[in-house]
């Protein structure tokens, strides 16, 4: 019978929604246990949030000063120690999980599965590769732990109506000091919803033309209560921060509404938005590949159309309809 250990992603205060998606993935093959491990300097608040996830059978708090900031080299040996007795060790396919889980797998002497999008059983999984141009079905051997990352865009977050017991664990493994956290620089957000979990996202591409013009994107996002995203071209050109990049090598997202403005739609971008509910493309180039996947396309000059759209939607929000 499968027993799953999930590594919680958090910032020391709040549990990241990616963890609830890992729980949903695990629950889909009905294992006998879904335990969530919280590595922190003081994991009380995060553990309580994890314990509330429907489907979780237990939360294991590993409090240690070295766990103040998540470092893969520090967390991996602790997870390897904790993984005894589990058949599966899962993390999210966010930069946190992608950094960490291969290191865990290699310490355990096993391979790792990236980006699980569907679990046909506890040992049979689907995952995308070639920038989402193909889906692979693979079977993992049952005689060794399955270490994997879960493609968060493929799963709904587990509800928070649960009440799993919380326990404390002390790790015996000696922790490395060769890797040290310095700081996190974050300049985007502006009080907007988180790109990875937002139900609405407005993204800008090269067509936006400059970082000043990117305000057009931000105003439309604000009129919709949406998060802001960007194509790789826009990030490379310095119009937007790296944490806003959507696509194969950026964030894979699944909002209910995705509005792409001035984005031509390279395959690397499309792979990041395939699971969106409704995709809208606004571009003056009617040949832009994004129109091939868009549910609604508008061929127009973005500098006229986007402010007009923001105005129309803002009015709607003000009138409460």
């Amino acid at each position: 019978m499968a027993r799953v250990l999930i590594v919680a992603e958090h910032d020391g205060r709040a549990l990241n929604a990616s963890t609830a998606k890992c729980v949903s993935c695990a629950a889909s093959f009905a294992p006998s246990a879904i335990d969530i491990a919280v590595f922190a300097s003081d994991g009380g608040a995060v553990a309580a949030q994890a314990a509330a996830l429907e489907g979780a059978t237990g939360v294991i708090r590993v409090d240690h000063p070295a766990n103040e900031n998540a470092l893969a080299a520090v967390a991996a040996p602790q997870i390897a120690e904790l993984s005894a007795g589990y058949t599966h060790v899962f993390g999210p396919s966010t930069t946190f999980g992608k950094d960490l889980m291969p290191r865990v797998a290699a310490l355990l002497g096993v391979g790792q599965l990236s980006d699980i999008m569907n679990a046909e059983s506890a040992w049979r999984f689907k995952r995308p590769f070639y920038a989402g141009n193909a889906i692979l079905t693979v079977e993992a051997p049952e005689d060794r732990p399955v270490v994997a990352t879960v493609r968060t865009a493929s799963y709904q977050a587990a509800e928070d109506s649960g009440n799993a017991p919380i326990s404390q664990r002390t790790i015996e493994t000696e922790l490395p000091t060769h890797t040290r956290y310095v700081e996190l620089r974050s300049d985007s957000g502006g009080g907007r919803p988180d790109l990875q979990t937002a139900s609405r996202v407005v993204s800008g591409g090269r067509g936006v033309g400059s970082s000043e013009n990117f305000q057009i994107i931000e105003r439309l996002a604000d009129a919709l209560g949406a998060a802001v995203g960007a194509s790789r071209a826009a990030v490379d050109a310095g119009y937007a921060g790296n944490d806003l990049q959507v696509g194969q090598t950026g964030k894979i997202i699944a909002p209910d509404l995705y509005i792409a403005v001035g984005i031509s739609g390279a395959i690397q971008h499309l792979t990041g938005i395939k699971d969106a509910g409704v995709i809208v493309a606004i571009n003056k180039d009617s040949e832009a590949p994004l129109f091939e996947v868009a549910d609604i396309g508008l061929v127009a000059d973005l500098f006229a159309a986007v402010p007009e759209l923001a105005e129309a939607l803002g009015e709607q929000a003000r009138s409460g309809s």
Binding site: A72, A106, S114, F129, N133, P176, R185, V235, F291
Partner: protein, 252 residues
């Protein structure tokens, strides 16, 4: 001042990033016949970074390594033309899982006494994003993954990492593994004289057996299929129609 004597840069041969690859109709694999192949773009960035480190006098040599068939020497020669000093091909016709690739790189690190390995954060075919982290784990050394800025001071590397929340700065002691993100640098173009010069640079061939690596296969591939297609949408002619369409879909 030299920080490390030898930097290893693994190069993977992949389908060119501009090619739209498709699943073969019979689902047996990807249709790759006659398709343009290139150095994995992230690995090219890794090589560029290693060359810049050498140009700053912080390393003695840059060695490019590949693990594949003889045809992979095309990418190694391209790496030599970019400026690498020498190349190693670990010859195999098997498709290796990332853990085996990491074990092979570990054997090469020991053989070459390298103290810094720079490689792409992921290959654009497998999209696994694992090899660098696995190498660091097996080596018992630090990893600086998804790096967009890298500097050295004595035996410490300071890396800026592109993470979901923004840019994270970490310090790692050498030896270490660095994986590259897109914005670390812009790789140089190769000039014709360099391509000619590259033909004279040393290229050594080894086998997995010589490196004592067992190419075990852990994951069994049961099938490959194309992704589900989104149904085609509608075009609207102005913003008013767009708002109308959004309302009809119930998303605003």
């Amino acid at each position: 001042m030299t920080v490390v004597d030898t930097i290893l840069v693994p190069l993977k041969r992949v389908v060119d990033a501009n090619v739209r690859v498709r699943v073969k109709p019979d689902g047996s694999g990807m249709a790759l016949d006659g398709v343009k192949m290139s150095i994995n773009p992230f690995d090219e960035i890794a090589l560029e970074e290693a060359l810049r480190i050498r140009e700053r006098g912080e390393t003695g040599e840059v060695v490019v390594v590949s693990i594949g068939t003889q045809v992979w020497t095309q990418q190694l020669r391209a790496g030599l033309a970019m400026g690498a000093d020498r190349a190693i091909l670990v010859e195999t016709d098997q498709e290796l899982e990332p853990l085996t690739v990491a074990r092979t790189l570990m054997a090469l690190v020991e053989r070459e006494h390298s103290e810094l390995v720079i490689l792409g954060k992921q290959a654009i075919d497998g999209d696994n994003n694992q090899t660098g982290q696995m190498l660091a784990a097996i080596w018992g050394r630090p990893q600086a993954c998804f790096t967009s800025h890298l500097r050295f001071s004595d035996r410490v590397a300071t890396a800026m990492r592109e993470v979901d929340a923004g840019l994270e700065v970490i310090e790692v002691d050498l030896p270490a593994v660095v994986t590259t993100d897109l914005r670390l640098n812009e790789p140089r173009y190769t000039k014709l004289p360099d391509i000619l010069k590259a033909k004279k640079k040393p290229l050594q061939t080894l086998s997995l057996a010589e490196l004592n690596v067992d190419p075990e296969v852990q994951f069994r591939v049961l099938g490959i299929e194309p992704p589900p297609q989104r149904p085609s949408g509608v075009k609207v002619s102005d913003v008013a129609e767009l708002v109308q369409a959004l309302r009809q879909k119930g998303v605003v």
